[in-house]
């Protein structure tokens, strides 16, 4: 297992993007300054999350979401502590207190909140354990990561980092062919949608910025978010002249001689 490092060098947003694109299954363990977070994924979707020693039992989650009153929560803690979350969930559904959708929605929100808290962590060792899965007695969810990634990107403020990510605004953007990515299921802000409407290999990022009245920082932030979510990729602008150079690549202009030259190189390298 080699997916490990420090948040100083590789942000949570970038990790989520990698996990999403690689459809990873396992658990990301992040050791923060004062606590450890464990975020589990199945095939690139968020399944479960836990932070520090926080009580993340179903009863606690529902209580935090005001779906259970304090007396109800205390009763469950006392009388139902020996049963699993799955069994408790079924009990609550069968008793008519909550629907399955309620339970899943609240769990999703809780897990999402944990991940969003991780966005503020700028230092800490992480590693991805392919063999560590959510506890058997807990309920897992299945949540797409794109929106979380975009949210994480929104929190990125450092100008230098953005400049490193997108060094040139003369390049263009195109939508990725990645299976599963679908703009309709992604929640974008008005500004992000405005940029998306101009994405076309014929439009440079600079031109999009002018059209959307954004400055360098604003357009970089938005493009970075879209890149991290795997929705777009950088490409050469169509119709832009290739960089000209007076220096010849080949010592001959004859195409057949050029091919012969490359074949000679290949044979020579093979013989080394």
């Amino acid at each position: 297992m080699a997916l490990r490092g420090n948040l100083r060098d590789f942000t949570i947003t970038q990790l989520l993007n990698l996990i999403n694109l690689a459809h990873k299954t396992g658990t990301l363990v992040v050791e923060g300054p004062s606590e450890t977070a464990k975020v589990s994924f199945r095939e690139g979707k968020l399944a479960y999350a836990q932070i520090g020693q926080e009580d993340n039992s179903l009863a606690a989650v529902l209580h935090k979401a005001n779906k259970l009153s304090v007396p109800q929560y205390r009763t469950l803690q006392q009388r139902a502590s020996h049963i699993s979350d799955k069994e408790l969930g079924l009990l609550l559904i069968n008793a008519g207190y909550l629907s399955q959708e309620d339970i899943l929605t609240n769990l999703q929100q809780y897990f999402t909140d944990i991940v969003q808290r991780l966005f503020t962590w700028v230092e800490g060792f992480f590693h991805f354990d392919n063999d560590l899965l959510p506890p058997e007695d807990r309920i897992s969810v299945r949540l797409d990561l794109e929106n979380l990634i975009i949210e994480g990107s929104r929190q990125l403020h450092e100008w230098e980092q953005l400049q490193d990510e997108i060094p040139s605004l003369d390049m263009a953007l195109k939508f990725t062919d990645r299976p599963g990515s679908n703009l309709r299921n992604v929640n974008l802000s008005v500004e992000e949608w405005r940029v998306v409407s101009f994405i076309n290999p014929r439009n440079s990022i600079k031109q999009i910025a002018v059209a959307t009245k954004m400055n360098d920082l604003e357009i970089r932030r938005i493009v970075y978010g879209l890149l991290q979510a795997g929705l777009v990729e950088i490409c050469r602008q169509e119709g832009a002249p290739a960089p000209s150079s007076n220096v010849r690549v080949f010592p001959t202009e004859d195409k057949e001689e050029q091919k012969s030259l490359v074949n000679r190189l290949i044979n020579r390298i093979r013989s080394l």
Binding site: A2, L3, R4, G5, N6, R8, D9, F10, Q14, N17, L18, L21, A22, Q161, D164, E165, P167, S168, D170, M171, L227, E233, I234, R236, A242, P243, S245, V247, R248, V249, F250, P251, T252, K255, Q258, K259, L261, V262, N263, R264, L265, I266, R268, I269, R270, L272
Partner: protein, 180 residues
Amino acid sequence: MQTVKMVVTGPFNAGKTEFIRSVSEIDVVSTERKITKASEKAVKEATTVAMDFGRITVDDDLVLYLFGTPGQKRFDFMWEILSEGMLGFIVMVDSTRPETFREARSILETFRAYAPTPYVVAANKQDIKDAWELEDMRHALRLDSKVKFLPCVATDRDSVKSVLLELLYSILSEMENGGK
């Protein structure tokens, strides 16, 4: 005597010098200067501040030169000069240092903007225990699936040959497709 050129680029300490050294028939020409930045000193003892230069004689009539770009960002003014007239380029990435991935991406984008020549990306130090898996690196580097991303051990001649050959196959393929 005809000459052609390839450029080996990548972040500081990615393995560019070793890559060229593995196949060059001459000692790699590089000017070593004492590291002055403490952070770089911690990574390695000596580094190049001028370009690395290696040579492979193909036959009586043809020589291939390998140019390595300086790794530190403060020498990036050299990159455009070195990229002029190149057949193609190789971007070396240190598989054990994810903190360099962002810089590697930036270097790749810069070179792509300089010249629309074929390139490959080499994940170096794949023999080391902490090396990232290639698939994970591909996603982290946001490399398109069409980009050749190759495992590499720069101190292993056969590994370096494989990378060079893949670049040459890409060059040939582009020529045969009319540069499309």
